[in-house]
């Protein structure tokens, strides 16, 4: 009887806290939608920030996240494969722990690190520095995804490949990665969604830029950094633009997340 009551209380408390969380999430989304949709217009996508649009910012944000993905995914996957398939004992565990710590490192610290490492010697903020800061954020996410997804592949599948005369590398490349591909894809997408919404690592690495540019050696347009700047601007026009930018960013992140979940649901 007593256990039943405790059970009920615990259940109500969990439901309550879930509800509180959902209320705030809904609040944020509703505000974003109402303010964002009002400020939305087609010209946002055809004009650059200097002319009151967001085109160069969206492009810049995407490009830096894309470069981070292109560099970070292979590196992170190789490290993850090493940890799961080759690393045994203390050494591997230290790397695994380091990677986990990196993942929970505050992103502003990563920004500062890249500032000292690249921006200072280079002499000015630039797009490469922003991409590298995002890469550093992404790598531990990819490492942990790869490590976890490979651990879900039954060891019998590895043994079956070996038993047919496969070498260890061949089996990993041709069977194990394939067996884990849905999880890996999802993890990479979610990692991309995570870094594309970051502000702190870009704040003093890429900065932002009001003009259209593809030159990564310059201050580089960033949607998130510009949101931060615009929100602090005293004019209504700037704030409306910040709302619109936030709305678009949220939609992008939401879309990538939904695509990612869809993958997992589809194939288990």
């Amino acid at each position: 009887m007593k256990r039943l009551i405790i059970n009920k209380i615990a259940l109500s408390l969990s439901v309550l806290s879930a509800l509180i969380g959902l209320v705030f999430l809904a609040w944020i989304l509703v505000t974003l939608f109402s303010k964002g949709i009002n400020s939305l217009s087609f010209s946002l996508f055809t004009q650059d920030l200097i002319n009151g649009g967001l085109r160069n910012l969206i492009f810049g944000q995407f490009l830096m996240a894309l470069i981070a993905t292109i560099i970070g995914v292979p590196l992170g996957m190789m490290a993850g494969i090493y940890l799961r398939e080759y690393g045994h004992g203390k050494y591997a565990n230290i790397i695994r722990d380091l990677s986990d710590i990196m993942m929970s490192a505050p992103s502003i610290i990563i920004g500062s690190f890249v500032f000292v490492l690249i921006v200072e010697p280079f002499g000015s903020i630039n797009g490469w520095a922003g991409s590298i800061a995002l890469t550093i954020m992404l790598i531990p996410i990819v490492v942990s995804t790869t490590d976890n997804m490979l651990s879900l592949v039954p060891k019998e599948l590895r043994e079956a490949g070996i038993a047919l005369g496969g070498g260890k590398h061949q089996v990993i490349l041709s069977i194990i990665l394939k067996a884990a591909r849905v999880g890996l894809m999802t993890g990479i997408l979610l990692g991309f969604a995570r870094i594309i919404g970051e502000t702190a690592p870009l704040l003093f690495t890429s900065g932002t830029n009001s003009f259209w540019t593809t030159d990564l050696n310059n201050a580089f347009p960033s949607l998130t950094v510009s949101i931060y700047n615009l929100a602090n601007f005293p004019t209504d026009k700037a704030r409306d633009l910040a709302w619109a930018a936030s709305f678009i960013l949220t939609m992008i992140v939401l879309f990538i997340n939904i695509v990612g979940r869809f993958f997992t649901r589809d194939k288990g």
């Binding site: 079956a160 047919l164 496969g166």
Partner: protein, 263 residues
């Protein structure tokens, strides 16, 4: 005994990496050519450990300790090689092409039915498409699964039923024309009809391949095998022709086990 032994396990002991005690102690067990040898015994007695030594799949994980000899007959030269001497990656690969293995749970690869069977063949260096196709088809035919899959070779192997997957795995191993096939409780995850199909297949295969099968099922051992080895806590208690083991065992322990008094 003038009959041919394809494998001969001599005074073999095995200890897992980090384990205190050996899991197998001084095993002596012959494997007759083109016969079915069954390994029976209560769970944890070391059947899988012994089976997995025969293609040295244990070596996928570092640090295990072997002692004794496991001879494998080279049919063309008539000489024995001790597979415990193998050290080079290339020789491991050759060993595994000669000694195939089937696991308890079916292990189809995440690729098409055709590619599953072609996998080992490609590793073995067969590139010619026509030869590859021929070998895949004949392996599927020889594994009693051809009629069920011939119209869907391009489909994902994961879509097959458990019993079909297991026969596909056998086809995949048989495609390499191994001399020995090791099966570790291959039907314990399957329904009775699939089990029947696999048993029939094993009997068929022994014309060309020597078979070692681990089974929990006494009826299966007596139906399928020519020789039976009874193991208990890391030791081989009794080995003989299957009918002797089941009808007239020498050891009290064997008798208790095969009559279902424990296990």
């Amino acid at each position: 005994m003038a009959k041919k032994l394809i494998m001969d396990i001599k005074d073999f002991s095995f200890r897992y990496a980090g384990a205190e005690k050996p899991s197998l102690m001084s095993i002596n067990l012959p494997v007759h050519k083109n016969k079915v040898t069954a390994m029976i015994g209560p769970s944890g007695c070391g059947k899988s450990t012994l089976l997995r030594a025969l293609n040295r799949i244990h070596d996928l994980y570092p640090g295990h300790e072997y002692q004794g000899k496991i001879n494998l007959l080279n049919s063309s030269s008539g000489e024995n090689e001790n597979i415990l001497d193998i050290k080079k990656e290339n020789d491991f690969i050759k060993l595994r092409q000669r000694v195939g293995m089937i696991f308890q749970k079916p292990t189809p690869f995440p690729m098409s039915i055709f590619d599953n069977v072609a996998y080992g063949l490609k590793l073995a260096g067969i590139k010619n498409k026509t030869i590859l196709e021929e070998k895949v088809v004949s392996a599927l035919q020889g594994s009693a699964i051809w009629t069920e899959v011939k119209d869907r070779l391009k489909e994902d192997a994961m879509g097959l039923s458990g019993g079909q997957q297991q026969r596909l795995c056998i086809a995949r191993a048989v495609a390499l024309r191994p001399e020995v096939l090791l099966l570790d409780e291959p039907t314990s995850a399957l329904d009775p009809i699939s089990t029947g199909a696999i048993e029939e297949l094993v009997t068929e295969l022994k014309k060309d391949i020597s078979i070692v099968i681990v089974t929990h099922n006494m009826q299966q051992a007596s139906r399928l095998s020519d020789y039976t080895a009874f193991m208990y806590i890391g030791k081989l208690i009794e080995y003989n022709k299957t009918d002797k083991i089941f009808l007239n065992p020498k050891e009290k322990l064997t008798e208790d086990y095969v009559t279902g008094r424990f296990g």
